[in-house]
Structures are given as structure tokens and as C-alpha cells.
């Protein structure tokens, strides 16, 4: 096998093995309900994580996505409450804002040569601050269109559902995989991750690509916000706190290097599923206190990373001196 695919294969193998172990302990976990839930419940995280994957592949990071999700939700709820606009129009509007917001951060990162960590951290403060200013209350969305969209699902045998948002996540992943691996833009993203200076000398349009990457991440964070608002039928400024860290964890568990330039969008999907599996397992267990829940999540995270390292180590037969 091409050594490039080893991390991906390792992640998939680990996921399958872990799922099998869970089923051994709780046979119920094989039900289509659990599988459907895995998709639906992680839809917003998955969509945001696709954007995060691109950012991380390019060697950057985007800490603003959780706040953008919250902002999007509040924006939609507030606008729907106060105007007669159709939700679809509002969606387009908010996607535009989120994309612009991302593009702006990308432009600052590129043109002012500031580290993404800090620019997007400030972006996080700003987006959440704007959500607060729009409304500190949690605002319900009562538009009938929401009900229509939610009624739209595919019923699996056994009571599980592939919902609209779960399906949307899969679509976004498909599109993400296509963009990352089959377009010039995707190749440029990897190129940036390999080294900005070198990429520039090789003729990669660095400015355009950087801005596009963060705009894309903003767009997907906006989409994720829409999904979240569908998921909860509300907009709430305190929603989705810390989602960026979950997304980063999913991306990394999916085998992408935080240093950029190496990884797969498809891996992120597995990363998301692994994180979802951890949570499902913990609820199925149901005996853990709040603190043991945290400790176990940490340990499982560690375990997955360790297993991945082990796989890589075995497959490479040792590594060059760091």
C-alpha cells in the first residue's frame, strides 16, 4: 500500500475494531438508530470539521467556527422573528456573511502576516460578541419551513433515520473529498501546508488560496450553523462553545497532521464517527460521573492517538530522527 494511505487505513481499522468492541459489550449499539443518530447528532460538527480539515491541511487553524455557528443560529432566529423573509433567503444571507467573515480573517492572516491562531481567536471573540449583541436570549425558530425540512428523512429498517442534516453532512464530506483531492484548489491547499515560501516560489497563488481557505471554512461554519439551527430550532449565543476543539480533535484523530500538508478529508469523517462513538459508549454505560466522563474522554482520545502512532511506527519500521 502507498505509505500515504497508512494513517487513513489505521484510523478506519481502529474505528471498526472499537465499534466491534462496543457491540460486544452493548449489542444495542448495532441498531440502525444508533447509526442514524451518529450521523444526525454529529452533522453540524462534521460539516464544520470539513472546513477545519482544509484549514489545517494548509498549515493554519480556525478557532472561530464555534462562535460562527452560534452567530449564524442567532442571526437566523432573530431575522426570522423580526422580518417576513423566507428561511432560504436568510440562509443565503447568513452564508454570505459567514463566508465574508472567513475571507476577512484569511485576508488579515495573509496580508498582515499574522498567525492564524490569533486572528481566528480574535474572530471567535468577535463572532460570539456579535451573537450576544443580537440577542442574549435563546430565540426559538417557529417557521413552518423548518418543520417541512425536518419531516424530510429516510427511515431505516429498525427505527433509525437518515435525516436531512445527516445526509447533508455526508454530501459535504463527499464534496470536500472531491475538492481536496481532485481540484487545483485542493492541490494548492496541500502545497501551502508543505511550506508557504516554497509554494509561493512554485507559483501557487498564495493570497488567493489563503483567503479562499478561510472563506471556505467560514462558509462551512455558516452551513454548520444552519444545520445547528435546524437541529435545535433555535438560535442561542452560548451554543457550540468549544466546537472548534472538537473539530480539531476529529481532524487529528482522522490522521491529518496539524503541521499541515498531510491528511485526508475522508479521515475526518472517521474522526467524527470515533468521537461520536466515544460519546455513545459513555451514555450507554451510564454509570460515569461528570468527572469520570471527562477523564475517560481524555483517555480514549489518548488511546486512539497512541494506537495510530503504533500503526504508523510498525508500518514505517522506525522513523528518522526528529
Amino acid at each position: 500500500m502507498n505509505p500515504r494511505y497508512v494513517p487513513l487505513a489505521a484510523t478506519i481499522a481502529i474505528f471498526v475494531a472499537a465499534y466491534a468492541l462496543c457491540i460486544l459489550q452493548y449489542p444495542n449499539m448495532l441498531s440502525t438508530r444508533v447509526i442514524g443518530n451518529l450521523l444526525t447528532d454529529n452533522a453540524f460538527l462534521g460539516i464544520a470539521a470539513v472546513g477545519m480539515t482544509f484549514v489545517i491541511l494548509s498549515g493554519g487553524i480556525d478557532l472561530s467556527i464555534g462562535a460562527v455557528i452560534a452567530f449564524t443560529g442567532v442571526f437566523i432566529a432573530v431575522v426570522l422573528e423580526n422580518t417576513g423573509l423566507h428561511p432560504l433567503v436568510v440562509f443565503v444571507l447568513v452564508l454570505g456573511i459567514a463566508t465574508l467573515f472567513g475571507a476577512l480573517m484569511g485576508a488579515i492572516i495573509h496580508h498582515l502576516e499574522m498567525p492564524p491562531f490569533i486572528v481566528t481567536l480574535a474572530g471567535m471573540f468577535l463572532a460570539r460578541g456579535m451573537a450576544f449583541v443580537l440577542s442574549i436570549d435563546s430565540v426559538p425558530v417557529k417557521h413552518p419551513f423548518y418543520a417541512t425540512m425536518k419531516a424530510f428523512y429516510y427511515r431505516l429498517p429498525g427505527g433509525g433515520r437518515i435525516t436531512l442534516i445527516g445526509g447533508l453532512m455526508l454530501l459535504v464530506f463527499a464534496a470536500g473529498i472531491l475538492i481536496a483531492h481532485r481540484t487545483r484548489f485542493g492541490a494548492n491547499v496541500y502545497a501551502l501546508g508543505g511550506g508557504v515560501q516554497t509554494a509561493r516560489l512554485m507559483g501557487v497563488p498564495v493570497a488567493r488560496t489563503t483567503i479562499a481557505i478561510y472563506a471556505f471554512s467560514g462558509l462551512l461554519a455558516g452551513l454548520s450553523g444552519i444545520v445547528f439551527s435546524l437541529y435545535t430550532s433555535a438560535g442561542y449565543s452560548l451554543a457550540a462553545v468549544g466546537v472548534e476543539l472538537d473539530a480539531i480533535a476529529a481532524v487529528v484523530i482522522g490522521g491529518t497532521l496539524l503541521t499541515g500538508g498531510s491528511g485526508f478529508v475522508g479521515g475526518t469523517l472517521i474522526g467524527i464517527l470515533i468521537m461520536g462513538l466515544i460519546q455513545t459508549y459513555i451514555t450507554f454505560d451510564g454509570s460515569l460521573s461528570s468527572w469520570w466522563t471527562k477523564i475517560l474522554i481524555g483517555l480514549l482520545l489518548f488511546g486512539f492517538i497512541l494506537m495510530q502512532k503504533g500503526f504508523l511506527y510498525l508500518s514505517k519500521g522506525g522513523r528518522r530522527l526528529a
Binding site: R182, T183, A187, N188, Y190, M202, G203, P205, S262
Partner: protein, 511 residues
């Protein structure tokens, strides 16, 4: 001023009055440069003369501070390399500038991947990459990541990419630094072909034989200023060197009869040393004051031999002895404690610490050996730095300049200085003269000879056989990651080495 030898309709690229100022240094001062159609034009000068800077100004990698660029009769002002590429200027920059995390094929076609229905057609891309590289006799897996290839392979890939990109102008900044004779010949064949197609080719190198072998005209820079442009055929080597250095140079390489290999006691003995999958077990003995050369083709395992000796890669078989006492050389630290030194081949990745100053880079290894608790006093560091800046003629505005801002050759010298500062007894040099100008080249070879006269033992890896022959008491020839033969004393000649490599090749072929 010369330069009007060609008629203006024959000029494909003309740069006039190019200025470039860096904080604290004027790198280019009103430089004129004219490149003809179907011409190979050498751009020469000492380390730090401004060659790479001029190239980068032409390709838009740097914004020039003044001057005019005309390509094919049209004024151009490329804002970035992307634009230059579109205009038909293909470039190989000095340090291999490819992306280690992409595959060979992706590197070759970055930005211009073949597409089907708007999507990148990976299969077609890989196929075309294979055909392209076949033209350079390179039969490698184009789907492998570039980082898994040796520096030399990367260099060939970079060349292939630039050549493929260049519609009008091809710029090669020290493309041959890590290539051996065979690859160089191949490159020249390509260059000649392009020449007949009417391309203008800029060729930067420190190998003067190569200049005379392929170049039509020569432009010389010194300290950021144009010295002049001449017909290669009408410029004797001695005069060229004088143009570059601004002074006469004595013998370039003193092929002095080296002191007979004293049959002194063996100081370093490695027996059965090897590492599976990297280098086959070998025996090696080095005496005090002896220079052992290592020769071989690309990828023959020379660098791996060096790394294993220094502990940068752990040996998994065999043992090492110093003066009869067994030692463990399992890490660079351990090796340094036994007074070994190692000047690596890939200076950008393994050598320089870019943001540290020249002074700190020179003091680094010595400081590491003394341990953190005993800092080298600032004054002492400055003395050390000044001493080596002078001794090795490192061109820098001052010793506090971050080393990444130095020109390539000068970085190489600073790394060498880092090791000399530790006063090693056994120094391993992997391609020490790569990218170093004629003047400094001679300096370094003289230095090597001095060092071994003072009793230092040396292992030198070099693709330049002439050079290797000049100072080695003994030469070990590698093939396929195996030590295949050893030439001693009188037998150390270029012809013999080539023969040993070739014999190995025949042997390999018959296997």
C-alpha cells in the same frame, strides 16, 4: 559596456538598472543583464554576489526597487512567480524548492494539473510525470512523496518541472550542486535541446568546467554590481576568476603530492557497522591525519554512511572503537562527546538554524557540548564568530544577521565554522563544497589539508571526483548501499574511481 553583441531582436529577456535593497544591505545596484534567444548565459560571481537575488527579482519572487524588465519586447512586471510562470519563465531556485509532502507527480504539475470535466485527472498526471522523468533517466515511483527521495532526485524533479514550464526563459540557479557527472550530462543534453528551440537559458553555477562546457556568454556580478558580460569562448578561465574575485587566485586546487599515508595507528575502527534497509554492514578504519573520501552515485548510500557514523541514524549491527576502546555512538550527542563532527548535506533542513544569528549558529555545537549550564560568554562567542567569518570569508553585513538571510554558499561556510569551532578530532563532511564559489572552494580544500596535517581525521563525501582525488588518502566507493571497493594511495585517481563505480555497475547488471 559590452552586452550589445546581440541585436535587439535577438534579445528575449532584458533587465536594465535592477536595484534591490535589503535592510542593511544593497544586494543589487543598477544591474544590467541581457539574455539572447537560443543562448545559454552563465551568471557568475562569488557567494553573496547577488546572483540569486537577481533571479528572484526577475521572477517576481522579490519586488525589485528599481529597473526595468523586458520580455520578448514587452515590459513586464511580474508580481509573483505565478505570473512569471505564465509569462513563460521557468525557474529552478537555489535550494530545492519543491513540496516534500506532495508526490513527485503533484510537484511536477502543481498549478497545471491535467483536468477532465474540471477535475484533476490523477491518472493522466502520473502517466505524464513518468514520461517526463523518463527523459531524465529517472525511473521512480511518481506517486511516492517527494520527501522519500534523495536530494539529487529532488533536484532532477525540480529541473524537469522548470524545463516543462519554460516557454521562453529557463533559469537554473545552481542546479548541478548535488548532481553527479551522469545527471549533469543529462541536464546538458536537455539544455542543448531547449537552446535549439530558441529558449534563453540562465545558468548559475560555481563549476567553471560546466560553464565552459555549455555556456555561450558569461555575466559576472560582484558585490551586487555588474562586472561585465563576455563571450565565453573569449574569456580565459584565469581572467574569469579575476573578474569574479576582483583579484588573481593562485592554484585553484593544489594537486599537491599529499604526504604519503603514514601507516600510523588506526584511531577509529568501525566493524560490521550497518543498519538494515539503509546501509549494508561495512568495515572502516580511519587513521590520525587521514582523509578518507567516499564516492558513489546518487543514492548509493554515502549520506547514510555518514549519518550512521555520526549516530544520527542508529546502527543496528557492528561496533565502533576509538583508539582501541569500544564506544557507543548512538546519538549525535554521544558522537560529539567523542569529538566527532558532522557537516550535513542538506543545509536548509539539517544545517542552519534560520532565525538565529550567524554568531549563534557558529557557537551552537560548541555550546551544546559544554552543556547549558556553562554558557559561552558573549565576548567569546563574538570572538569565535569573527574569527571564522574572517577565516572562511563569510560574507555578511554583521555577525548578528539571521543566518537565513545569508546567501547559500555563505550559509554553508557558517555551518562548517560551527564544527570547526568545536575543535573536532574526527570530522565528517557531506558535500562540503556544494554551492561554494571558486575562491572559497580553494580555501576550504586548503583548510581540509591543513586540518589533516594538524592530525584531524576526516571523512569527506563529494560528487566532485577531482576534488576528492586531490585531498583523499583513501577513497571508498559505494554502490547500492554497499561498500564495494577501496582505493589507497597511488590508486586514488579519478579514472580508478570511475572504473570502480562502473565495475560495480557491471557487477550489478550481471546479477
Amino acid at each position: 559596456m559590452p552586452g550589445n553583441i546581440l541585436g535587439s531582436e535577438d534579445i528575449i529577456l532584458s533587465a536594465t538598472g535592477i536595484d534591490k535593497v535589503f535592510p542593511g544591505a544593497k544586494a543589487l545596484n543598477k544591474v544590467n543583464f541581457q539574455l539572447g534567444r537560443g543562448e545559454v548565459h552563465a551568471l557568475l560571481g562569488e557567494n553573496g554576489a547577488g546572483k540569486s537575488t537577481l533571479v528572484k527579482c526577475i521572477t517576481g519572487a522579490y519586488r525589485r526597487d528599481g529597473g526595468r524588465l523586458v520580455l520578448d519586447g514587452v515590459d513586464i512586471d511580474p508580481r509573483d512567480t505565478f505570473e512569471a510562470q505564465r509569462l513563460g519563465i521557468g525557474t529552478v531556485y537555489q535550494e530545492v524548492n519543491l513540496l516534500p509532502n506532495l508526490t513527485v507527480a503533484e510537484n511536477l504539475f502543481l498549478g497545471r494539473q491535467p483536468r477532465r470535466f474540471g477535475l484533476v485527472d490523477a491518472r493522466a498526471m502520473n502517466r505524464r510525470a513518468e514520461t517526463l522523468l523518463a527523459g531524465y533517466d529517472l525511473d521512480i515511483d511518481v506517486k511516492a512523496e517527494l520527501s522519500s527521495c534523495s536530494v539529487a532526485v529532488q533536484q532532477v524533479v525540480a529541473i524537469a518541472r522548470a524545463v516543462d514550464l519554460s516557454g521562453k526563459v529557463l533559469i537554473l540557479d545552481e542546479p548541478t550542486a548535488s548532481l553527479d557527472a551522469h545527471e549533469v550530462e543529462m541536464l546538458f543534453a536537455v539544455v542543448r535541446r531547449l537552446k535549439t528551440q530558441g529558449l534563453g537559458i540562465v545558468f548559475i553555477t560555481h563549476f567553471l568546467e560546466q560553464v565552459y562546457a555549455i555556456c555561450d556568454r558569461i555575466t559576472v556580478l560582484r558585490n551586487g554590481q555588474l562586472v561585465g558580460t563576455r563571450e565565453a569562448a573569449a574569456l580565459p578561465r584565469r581572467e574569469l576568476i579575476a573578474m569574479m574575485l576582483g583579484r588573481e587566485l593562485g592554484d585553484e586546487i593544489k594537486t599537491v603530492a599529499k604526504a604519503e599515508t603514514e601507516e600510523g595507528p588506526v584511531r577509529y575502527r568501525f566493524s560490521g557497522y550497518g543498519r538494515r534497509g539503509h546501509i549494508a554492514p561495512f568495515d572502516l578504519e580511519v587513521r590520525k591525519g587521514e582523509v578518507v573520501g567516499i564516492a558513489g552515485l546518487l543514492g548509493s548510500g554515502r549520506t547514510e554512511t555518514a549519518e550512521i557514523l555520526f549516530g544520527a541514524e542508529k546502527a543496528d549491527s557492528g561496533s565502533a572503537e576509538i583508539e582501541g576502546k569500544p564506544v557507543e555512538l548512538t546519538s549525535p550527542r554521544a558522537a560529539i562527546r567523542h569529538r566527532l563532527g558532522f557537516c550535513p548535506e542538506d543545509r536548509k533542513v539539517d544545517g542552519i538554524v534560520g532565525d538565529l544569528s550567524v554568531r549563534e549558529n557558529i557557537a551552537l555545537a560548541l555550546q551544546a557540548r559544554r552543556g547549558w549550564a556553562r554558557p559561552i560568554p558573549r565576548a567569546e562567542q563574538e570572538r569565535l564568530a569573527d574569527q571564522y567569518i574572517k577565516a572562511l570569508d563569510i560574507r555578511t553585513t554583521d555577525r548578528e544577521k539571521p543566518i537565513r538571510l545569508l546567501s547559500g554558499g555563505n550559509q554553508q561556510k557558517a555551518i562548517l565554522a560551527r564544527w570547526l569551532a568545536t575543535n573536532p578530532e574526527f570530522l565528517i563532511l557531506d558535500e562540503p563544497t556544494r554551492g561554494i564559489d571558486v575562491g572559497a572552494h580553494a580555501e576550504i580544500i586548503r583548510l581540509i589539508e591543513n586540518l589533516c596535517e594538524q592530525g584531524m581525521s576526516l571523512i569527506v563525501i563529494s560528487s566532485e571526483l577531482d576534488e576528492l582525488v586531490a585531498y583523499s588518502h583513501r577513497v571508498i566507493v559505494l554502490r547500492d548501499r554497499t561498500h564495494v571497493s577501496e582505493l589507497v594511495g597511488e590508486a586514488v585517481t579519478t579514472a580508478h574511481i570511475v572504473e570502480a563505480i562502473a565495475a560495480g555497475e557491471k557487477q550489478g547488471a550481471s546479477r
